[in-house]
Symmetry: C2
Subunit: 413 residues, 2 copies
């Protein structure tokens, strides 16, 4: 049986995602497709534009069989931890094929790059550190170091400055770390760049779509051509209920309040607050009243936008270094949380559930685990700016969404 | 020279305050009147309805010569600490007469009550503790204990269940504690009760006035008959600039966020969080989206509204027990912060400033002292819900307001 695993954020699910999903299913002759999806806060340190239940519905309607949550402690991290957590969850669920989108499109190149890097990991690390010291961001430094080391090599490697190549490289590496039997595949991404802001292409990036909906405040109709019908329906339903899409500006009063009321000493205990960054934050927080403006003040070549955004998520969530040290073990996640399933997904789950090595969670309150409690809290913090329309109970009441593909209906609403 | 000291909150300055001010000045033949005024958060654990600068202007226009700030660490406390801080500041400034409003109106009764209590402090304490254990609030318990102890006494004592009597009693006691030469006077309060919500009387309580302006959202004109002209002018000016009066509901998103993201262990380190109250707060915070509703859920006979509100101010401000233990010494305040002065007030200040035992502060940044930094932060937190109209810079830029009584104009605007 071909069990396809994919790693997604679906923020929101657009035509590029649909292309990736269909092509992956075709390439791997998938019987079942399992998506591990970031919950409330995403890898680039942003709140998801809708809650995870809405994004789960988009995934199911578009053809995913099983949606599971990538816990907050992995989802808001650098590519390596994000990937380790995601791949471990898929591996645990019996996935035997993993297919990711990439700029490169050649799986051999990924495999070879991983081989090379693991062979000379220590030497590369030293080179990377030198570049970081000179002021390069980590991905850029890694890419430069890699090129330096293998400049004379004629072999087939990938461009590690491209965001999807980085993630793909990490997925292949995570499979290797777990000594998993998962086979990796890759699909060339359709034209639009990851960070592209224009809608010119039908396959627009999620960034471009969010830019229209959030920064420009355009109605959903404006991006309808870039979305599968199911996504448009769900986004319209979301807007009808909540009236707004989540974005950082809505959380800024909380972030500002938090930074104002913590001492430098306590701020410094927050995960990813390094190198005296706390003083920089405390200095500028009193001089601003918007997230964007604050970012512009705080960021430097060294502290990239993404790195700062991830730190801000951890500040917002009050997640300490001590907590992460104790609980963030991405190669051995403590549970699998189901967000949604098709009839086929449910049957697959039934067939494997007795042999699972970790608990299967269907309700937030089912297990008292600090990592799960972080997921619950992250959903509640995510809902906080919209509390009057939404309450904080969705996350507590939430049970996996069930979907009947044939009839195209949710069966437990 | 008669230097009159008064302890005020002016939230807002109303006709009752004007009556108290004039009568006190008359009774003590005051040459100079000094008011020590709570800054941003008040003794009952509430945000002041306007910032302190606006309330300083009301005080000056209505005839106060010198307005100084009662630091946050004293202003948001039970009557004893509040009083010790206020009286100490007045004493340091050379005040020789203190006049307070009370239900009793007889200064001898206050003196005798203080004498009696200090004589048998230990026995009374035991009685009070018994009553508290039985579920009475502290003021009620104290009053019961006092009555029990002196039930056969024919002497002249006061009713300590009345809020202004309690404060007056504490002022007299604070003077005694400091062995100060200040002479205490009292004025009978005009009819309206402290907590009275009706406007029936021209001398309405500040509670009644705030009720009209905030809960009922009435325009300022509705309470014009209960205010001196100067107050109406200043409140109108405030509304023109900010568009709203500060009240707890505006701060509730921050309080809710804070309680949600702290663990019970860290919440318990907040000042006045006692007896497992942290668990009660953590339990109910997820079930509500308004301050009033939260209060109704959390309060009990034992945890009175006022006590909880004060705790909430400390949670909002992230003020720990450790901080208060280290810095809250109300009998020896670390500085005097000037908020405003009349020409006469300024001259008086010039005449004494070389003999002052503690620093005179005219700008927030003048001194690096943790207590002063708390005052600055409390003003900034107070301004946070209105930041888009106001910024956080008022407190940093702020210098004492100067007022010319003869010409009825502010001279440094």
């Amino acid at each position: 049986m071909n069990i396809l695993g994919i790693v997604v954020e679906y923020n929101p699910f657009h035509l590029g995602h649909l292309h990736h999903l269909r092509a992956s299913q075709e390439k791997t002759k998938a019987d079942i497709t399992i998506a591990v999806m970031s919950g409330s806060f995403l890898q680039r340190g942003e709140p998801a534009l809708t809650d995870k239940w809405r994004r789960t519905k988009m995934a199911l309607k578009n053809g995913v069989d099983l949606v599971i949550e990538l816990p907050y402690i992995y989802s808001t991290q650098k590519a390596e931890t994000f990937s380790d957590g995601a791949v471990s969850l898929l591996d645990t669920l019996g996935v035997n094929k993993l297919c990711f989108g990439s700029e490169s499109g050649e799986i051999d190149a990924f495999q070879q790059t991983v081989e090379k890097v693991t062979e000379h990991e220590h030497e590369l690390d030293l080179l990377v550190k030198q570049y970081v010291k000179r002021g390069l961001s980590y991905p850029k430094a890694f890419s430069e170091a890699f090129d330096d080391y293998y400049q004379d090599s004629s072999s087939n490697t990938i461009d590690l400055t491209k965001p999807n190549n980085i993630l793909g490289y990490q997925y292949v590496k995570s499979i290797k770390k777990r000594a998993s039997s998962i086979k990796a595949y890759t699909i060339t991404r359709e034209k639009s760049g990851y960070h592209e802001k224009s809608l010119s292409n039908k396959i627009a990036s999620a960034t471009a779509i969010r830019h229209e909906l959030i920064e420009k405040g355009e109605p959903i109709e404006r991006v309808e051509a870039n979305l599968p019908k199911a996504s448009t329906e769900e986004l319209l339903e979301h807007m009808k209920l909540i009236g707004d899409f989540a974005h950082w500006e809505h959380y800024f009063p909380l972030l500002q309040y938090k930074i104002m009321t913590e001492t430098s000493e306590t701020l410094c205990q927050i995960y990813e607050c390094e190198e005296g960054l706390e003083h920089r934050l405390k200095k500028y927080i009193f001089q601003t009243h918007s997230f964007h403006h604050f970012m512009e003040k705080v960021k430097t070549k060294r502290y990239t936008w993404t790195r700062l955004q991830r730190l801000f998520v951890h500040i917002l969530m009050n997640t300490t270094k001590a907590f992460m040290e104790k609980y963030c073990e991405p190669l051995s996640p403590p549970y699998i949380r189901i967000l949604g399933m098709s009839t086929e997904g449910r049957d697959y789950l039934s067939s494997i559930k007795n042999s699972l090595s970790i608990p299967l969670i269907t309700r937030a309150m089912q297990m008292e685990h600090p990592v799960l409690q972080r997921d619950t809290l992250s959903a509640q913090i995510h809902a906080l700016p919209y509390i009057k329309k939404y309450g904080l109970t969705e996350e507590i009441k939430g049970i996996p969404i069930q979907f009947n593909k044939e009839k195209n209906v949710f069966t437990n609403e």
